[in-house]
């Protein structure tokens, strides 16, 4: 009985510790949101207040009516959706082929995909910039998209799932029944890959939504900024108004946090799979 009580007490203490840590980790974001509701005057008060004394919606109103924030969000959203579609489509098809068609040519291509997987985007983005420039696609979503059409890890993730969850016998049976290869891919393989494809889609979307270095060099016109670049340049473009900046940041952050909370399972699945790479 007393051992049981001790276990319960230590569990309770651990829960309290975890709660405190979690709240501390979230504090910067909570404070940021709170700042969005402060008046510009309150932002300059010393010592700083943690929560607004008389909360105002003025900043949010101003952010949406007087700054191109919505335009930037729209740019980011378009880019992220198109990039997700491209990555899911290329990864699904290529991942299936490298998983189930062990010809030598295919294997060589797969090794190339894999070998470049660890090379960070930052290494080759300057030549890529000149490719985009040559096409006349600077300051366009198309130009931005060129950097995010394929994802080596996506191909790898789908390949692993194809090997693990699609038996050869199933494909053979369909072939004996006279099904074409494309038909098999569409009606047999894709439905079985729904889970990993959803995980990949969430990863791809967040990757595009949060990217920074690439849009900052490709999108230099104020109307073509993505939300990240727009926010980062906010301070030079507008008078430094911290409460306005906080409101803009909060307006961007809250939807993505909500999306994450809703899609957490998919996200965690995708990230966890990345850890199993070896």
């Amino acid at each position: 009985m007393s051992a049981n009580a001790r276990v319960r007490r230590s569990n309770f203490l651990l829960d309290v510790t975890l709660f405190v840590i979690c709240i501390l980790l979230l504090t910067p974001l909570i404070l940021l949101i709170a700042n969005g509701f402060k008046t510009p005057q309150e932002m300059l008060v010393w010592p700083p207040t943690l929560f607004p004394k008389d909360p105002t919606l003025q900043n949010f109103h101003k952010v949406f009516t007087e700054t191109p924030l919505l335009r930037w969000m729209f740019n980011s959203l378009t880019f992220a959706i198109l990039s997700t579609i491209a990555i899911v489509a290329t990864s699904a098809l290529a991942g299936y082929i490298v998983g189930k068609f062990p010809f030598r040519t295919v294997n060589v291509i797969f090794i190339l995909f894999l070998a470049t997987a660890i090379i960070p985007f930052e290494v080759y983005m300057i030549p890529l910039y000149f490719q985009v420039k040559a096409l006349g696609l600077l300051n366009s979503v198309g130009g931005l998209l060129i950097g995010y059409l394929v994802m080596s890890f996506g191909i790898f993730l789908i390949r692993q799932n194809v090997i693990a969850s699609i038996p050869d016998e199933l494909l053979e049976a369909a072939r004996i029944d006279g099904a074409g290869e494309l038909w098999i891919f569409w009606y047999v393989v894709l439905p079985l890959l729904r889970g990993p494809l959803a995980a990949l889609a969430v990863l791809a979307f967040f990757q595009a939504w949060t990217t920074f270095a690439w849009p900052i060099i490709v999108m230099t016109r104020k109307t073509s900024f993505t939300i990240e670049v727009g926010l980062a340049n906010f301070q030079s473009a507008y008078t430094i108004d911290l409460s306005l900046l906080s409101a803009a940041s909060a307006a961007v952050m809250v939807p993505s946090v909500l999306a994450f909370v809703l899609l957490r399972r998919n996200f965690v699945e995708g990230i966890a799979a990345s850890g199993m790479k070896e």
Binding site: L14, I109, Y124, E181, F212, A232, Q235, F260, V268, E278
Partner: protein
Amino acid sequence: MLRRKRFWFAIMAILPTFAIFGWVRLFPIIETLRLSMHEWNLLSKNKPFVGFQNFIELFGDNQFLDALTNTAVIAFGAMAVTIPMSMGLAAIIYHRTRSRFAGFYETAVFIPHVVSLVPAAMAWKWIFDAKLGPLNALIMGLGGDALPWLFDPVLSVICIIFLVSWQTLGYGVLIYLVGFRNLPKSVFEAAQLDGANGLQSFLHMSVPLLKPITLYVSVVTLISGFNVYAQAYVLASDTQGAPGRQVRVLVLDMLENSFQNFRVGYAAAEAVILLSIVLLLTLIQFGLLRGKGGR
């Protein structure tokens, strides 16, 4: 016959992806390697071959060396903070898996990793602000002296390490949680029967058993640390409108050389150095994994 048909289907199906891949990945990577050996001033038409001249110049370039040092300090600093913290935190969360709040813990720890870099950096920028920020208010409230967090060369690097660690922590915890779930349960039960307490079995069994995971998380953290850019851009660029101190990092130096000084070949050489660092780290990881008796 059938094999041939299948072969051609495979080739036709993989071709579009491979073509895109060659165009947006392989080609620019090769281009980076090629340009690093050339002197390409954007304003002139000629691109003479200069061999390793760019690299030789880089290692006498104080701005580059400054950037390399800062980036390395940030990458290793963030790793040193992230690894022990995420392992410890994952251990506690794993221990409380059956708790009602397990989902909340996982979500809360992971949120800093998914919020966009810029809004997150904005939040920290205010906290660190020397004149208006709550961090200095807290320090002064406790009787300390206010510190110029984002102006001092050493302190501003520490701030970036802090921000990067805060963001990476959730990723580390997630990977460690997977690791903990895959540990052999029987060994721990045996240890418990032998009278080992939680802390003992964590230190003497979990830590060594999780070595491959630690290695993996370390390398991922280091590689992303070497690519740090947005954090430095927001946190340590012109604070309060006045041109403040800027923490020079590799990616920033590279972009400046390419787009402000118009020296593309020189910037490409920097990119090749970044690539070499990443490859070296990956090789070390594989080497260490292999060296552990083929586990």
